[in-house]
Symmetry: C2
Subunit: 344 residues, 2 copies
């Protein structure tokens, strides 16, 4: 697991529906500099691509005298078709359906770029620089609980893209078949119970219907407010997080049974309330996965697993995982599996 | 995808709860000979291992003058812990909990063996010799609908074992969280709706309760009887298969969203009723997987997928897949990805 860090720098782009970040990175020094821009969606996609390429050029020109360039990585909201680099009705980039984002960036830049979904990039960072590195595992599955539920899977140090780049959409696995309608067209997706959006939606529904007397201010809650209320003993707020924990437990049980990975990492703002999510999550996970029961820390078949058994843990990197992952995309796996990489 | 077939022979063992098959195999001629034995569970595990090793020795001594030995592969009911080769409470080998099957066989034989779960071995055969070869894909996910619902995943031509050999248990993914109790300890597993056992259980429940007037003979149905009745227009029998199709669609949708593989293959006796299963299966799959909708044959992102899009198809190999897969286990991936391998 140790290799010499590459001496070059990379440029990473974290393209979000609201914010656009462009950073320069070396394995020795971590993030050298990060440019923060708004994503000017209302000015059209050409304006956004211009901003993105402008940021890349700025950092390229600043650092190219100091280091060789390893490459340029872009994390984008999905669904993104790979290797074509074409977007398909991305919910967070409205109007970009069919846009060949990779071609367009490469044409404007005159340089090749490595494109990946934002959730996959975040999983790569969590593997190389976060929990994955701490435990010394070569594979992990990450769920990011934010506006939606993002998912990225790293197998033997490589992003599992799937055949068209659309692997890692476990946020849209069905948890309750007759559950509420999801933006993806299905019903009862994990995202409908465990995203920040879902927690707020459920709180507002309960408050409006009068079923949750402790949640008296419809439309005024954020997921963070709910977590604070739950921690302060608000039973209604706690109940909503516990429901999210159960949905996560059911979803992760299927992932454990299917993939038998050594590590499942939960990131995003909702995961900050880990202590409230965890009891129900692990109760469902133990109930629904005999693979987990056999391999959880201390169980009969856990001994040979790096980290001491199948681990389900909150992410280490926080909100930096997206930009860090984008910066890591151009590096070869052999360089990422190094003990020398740094986050700061 | 083409390589010279290896000129040696392998010996494969398909260890089942009822039947034990041992076969000799070459890539040029396929199965040379298959020995059929009962699995003498009532005589104890040593008797079964003796029979198994006896069959291997018999074929070894018969063919070793003609060919070099590539290796010995064993497919066993799970859960099996790898690389240790230790069984953990296997439902189809009662009393074998904790048994170090690999060590025991190797000790008695004096030769190394490659051990794998039976469902993973079947998936390897279906990839190298069945639908996978027909479509020219390098990855697939197989579900085998029999006594239970077996699952095997092949990624880039290799069995995805997971960190302890327990990957590929999607038959125990939850479909309906409040569904009937499964032998694995969970509720509402795919196995509780789509296995042959489940179809018969549901038919008998409906017949006994009087809810299915067309199923008047409790305890007399087999899954095959039900399929015939359904094909002849029995609405109750058809309804049970349609329910299985829906459960499969929900389960496969999660697999498509998570893994984005080019091929999902359904094997086992229940899959013979494909025409009855398929309509509900595809209805749920389209509803619950936007990845499938984007990548199904003819969809916007299907063009670059070998086979022309994400395929969900019945298996090609039938009941031979288990023994064929066991025979393939010792071969290197490079030899399996050959156009020269044969099934007969």
């Amino acid at each position: 697991m140790t290799a010499e860090p590459l001496s070059g720098f990379s440029i990473g782009v974290d393209l979000g529906g609201t914010n656009l970040r462009v950073a320069a990175y070396t394995q020795h020094d971590g993030l050298l500099e990060t440019i923060h821009l708004p994503t000017r969606l209302s000015d059209g996609r050409d304006a956004v691509v211009d901003d993105l390429c402008g940021g890349i050029r700025q950092l390229h020109d600043k650092y190219i005298a100091q280091f060789p360039l390893v490459g340029i990585g872009i994390g984008t909201p999905g669904p993104i078709e790979l290797p074509a680099g074409r977007l398909h009705n991305p919910p967070n980039l409205p109007g970009w359906d069919g846009f060949r984002l990779k071609d367009e960036i490469e044409r404007k830049l005159g340089m090749p770029v490595v494109l990946e979904s934002d959730a996959n990039a975040a999983a790569l960072a969590e593997w190389a620089l976060g929990r994955g590195r701490s435990l010394g595992v070569d594979s992990l599955c990450m769920l990011t609980l934010g506006t939606g539920v993002g998912n990225g899977i790293i197998l033997h140090g490589k992003v599992w893209q799937g055949v068209t780049g659309m692997g890692g959409e476990a946020g849209h696995a069905t948890i309750y078949p007759d559950g509420p309608a999801c933006g993806c067209g299905s019903n009862g997706c994990l995202e409908m119970y465990a995203s920040a959006t879902a927690l707020v939606r459920i709180a507002n529904q309960l408050a409006t219907s009068g079923e949750a007397p402790g949640l008296a201010r419809p439309d005024a809650w954020t997921a963070r407010d709910l977590a604070i209320a739950a921690e302060e003993g608000n039973a209604d707020a706690r109940g909503i997080y516990e429901q999210a924990g159960r949905a996560l437990g059911i979803g992760i049980a299927a992932l454990v049974n299917t993939l038998n990975l050594p590590l499942y990492v939960i990131g995003g703002g909702v995961a900050a309330a880990w202590d409230i999510l965890a009891p129900e999550l692990f109760r469902e996970l133990r109930h629904r996965s005999y693979v987990y029961r056999l391999t959880e820390p201390g169980a009969p078949a856990s001994g040979s697993i790096p980290g001491g058994g199948t681990q389900v843990l909150p992410a280490e990197l926080g909100s930096e995982s997206g930009i860090l992952g984008a910066c890591l995309l151009p590096f070869p796996v052999s360089a990422l599996a190094s003990g020398e990489v740094t986050t700061a």
